[in-house]
Symmetry: C2
Subunit: 391 residues, 2 copies
């Protein structure tokens, strides 16, 4: 038996542990009395148009057959043309690989990229904890680079640790767990460093843009399209969050046409998919996606929840980042003690995730993909929690 | 870039190459004139009850949310109780892991099993070629053990090559590419060897039962349930073939409750799934499966096609195995020259796969998951092909 796999299976993520605790609490005191901000399961339903499309598609059982391994051609064509409508990139469909969601996108790309156990992949902290699992599974190791105090990318911190073994950098914007969207000039600083290092090291450094929250932004916030800024890049996309289809496992990898040896890299992604046991992305949802490619779920609840919680927590004296996108609020724990804050919050039936799960100390993540009613009912509990600190 | 992944992506399987050639030919002379026996895409549609279930399920967008990583509890319960209805095994749902089809089942189990680069996994030839990809991706190497002349398992051939590095044995029945179902006594011979070797080597040897064709058998052929015969076993199942849902990627892993450290092995499977980027099996089809768990597609076409082709090829003097199950006919090539036979067949618009793809020489695979019309129309083409040999 493989001991690493056993450990991964045994050590459930801290987030899942909290969720399970929530299940116990819900059974005891009723779901309406538990303010569970632990999980990232989308709250609004998939849009109505998705139901209509599915009703129609299931009339034809041919939609359940294998597609080609990289996806049905009609689907890849539609994804590429939609990217080209939105961004100046000339994305050919021949570099689109349909996947079983964001995790599958990331694993396929990482397995295609990593070639030696000395290889390193940069992640910016705080970061989605499964990145470490995927990078190590692909055979490389993670280098953590701290963001600055506003949770933007920090080129000086990158310069301190980058070396010739760095083969890839993961950038996640809108960000889980901070809700930050990196502005164009912030990304540019990082890309300038990476381009210089590509020259110096004489090998490509792949930027992996993990973008499951791309459309989930507030106001008129713009999410720069990384392949228009950095040549050796690949976008990992998923419809889980923006279309509330998290369980259906559907997304794609878009290899930038400007990448060095783009076609070979694409073939390596296909090879990686093959070796990971991805035969083709779920076919019904491949076809369902193409008919709704410009649609999203209704994000009103997220926008309202983010605003309500941000304003309330600020009024209680808590320090947090006003989210640009995604559905997370990253809150500084009183006295910098995250675990203590989470424990105290539990007494008020508030379930939070400590930031140690995301590679930094002293914060908690609030995942506000819940009903507005839950958020509104939680406000007095937050007030009571902070009164305990202030008495 | 990873060179192994690039090679896997570049070297499309021989089966896919032939299918692509078929696409060209179809465009030239019309689909009805091409007798394409290359692919294993199920022919009959998914059963009507599946469409009805899907129509109903898609009314509730909550079915699209994440389930737990090993699958929704209600689904795991139903799968376990169905196994227990059919076989005397006492399968607990706590050892059921829902997967994205057979390839995902196999990869999760192999990654959970393999712990050292010296580890070896036995496959019996001829065999499904992706086994080699999955085993090597998990970090082990394949040992090929030839079946006997009737394509049954051969314990003497196993004894010749088994050594202490063997950690697992893959058994695929009904078999792709031969259509053979291994009888109970044949399996027992192999299990007796393995049990003795487990003693001798003082470590478990896991039997991986790859069973995507379990229900697809002809007449009253019985497929023995391996966990009732061998303790250290795990079943990899998929609904792709038996329910004609190949594109939807839905199946399961059932760890035998009799396995040594069954719960730990199950957790290692969960850990492997996590490290491969499997978040949960597609949720809509998890729920769709439980409502139709005792249903299959209508296999009449397969039964008729198998009989028609077997009888016709025998009448032409070709030597082949009368299939017990699955939808493949394994035919001895005239003069033992498989590639030549496939090339000659192409002139008659018959597309066959040479057995070198399956680890043996001198045979071709006919995949008869096509319409009865296609099979009937192909008979004169087979006659003409054999006349060329006999003139």
């Amino acid at each position: 038996m493989n001991s690493k796999m056993l450990m991964l299976g045994k050590k459930r993520s801290a987030i899942r542990e909290i969720f399970e605790f929530g299940n116990k609490l819900r059974a005891e005191i009723g779901a309406e009395n538990v303010y569970d901000f632990s999980l990232g399961n989308p709250y609004p339903p998939a849009p109505d148009c998705m139901r209509e499309t599915l009703e129609k598609l299931v009339q034809n059982p041919a939609v359940h057959a294998y597609t080609s391994a990289p996806g049905a051609q009609v689907v890849r064509d539609k994804v590429a043309s939609y990217i080209n409508e939105r961004f100046p990139i000339n994305q050919p469909s021949s570099l689109i690989y349909m996947t079983e969601g964001a995790a599958a996108s990331l694993c396929s790309v990482l397995y295609a990229t990593v070639d030696s156990k000395d290889d390193k992949v940069v992640v910016f902290t705080p970061y989605f904890p499964e990145y470490k699992v995927f990078v190590e599974s692909a055979g490389a190791s993670v280098i953590e680079v701290p963001c600055n105090e506003e949770f933007k990318l920090d080129k000086n911190n990158l310069l301190k640790v980058i070396d010739k073994n760095v083969v890839a950098v993961i950038i996640n914007s809108p960000n889980n767990p901070t809700g930050v969207v990196y502005p164009k000039e912030n990304l540019q600083e990082i890309f300038d460093v990476l381009k210089a290092k590509e020259e110096e090291y004489a090998h490509p450094i792949i930027v992996i843009a993990d973008e499951p929250y791309r459309e989930l932004v507030y106001g008129d916030k713009e999410v720069p399209y990384i392949p228009t800024m950095y040549d050796n890049s690949v976008v990992c996309y998923s419809y889980s969050k923006v279309m509330s289809l998290a369980g259906e496992r559907i997304g794609y990898v878009a290899v930038s046409p400007k990448m060095e040896n783009a076609q070979d890299f694409f073939l390596a992604v296909c090879g990686a998919g093959r070796s990971l046991g991805y035969v083709c992305a779920p076919s019904l949802f491949q076809f369902a996606i193409v008919e709704n490619i410009d649609k999203t779920s209704d994000f009103t609840t997220y926008a309202n929840n983010g605003k309500t919680l941000y304003n309330h927590l600020k009024s209680l004296g808590l320090d947090c980042v006003n989210p640009d996108g995604a559905f997370y609020l990253f809150v500084k724990a009183p006295n910098g003690k995250a675990e203590e804050f989470c424990e105290k919050a539990k007494k008020y039936n508030i379930l939070l995730v400590p930031s140690t799960s995301f590679g930094v100390d002293g914060y908690v993540r609030i995942s506000y993909c819940v009903s507005e009613k839950t958020v509104n009912s939680s406000l007095p509990a937050f007030t009571a929690l902070m009164q305990e600190y202030n008495k």
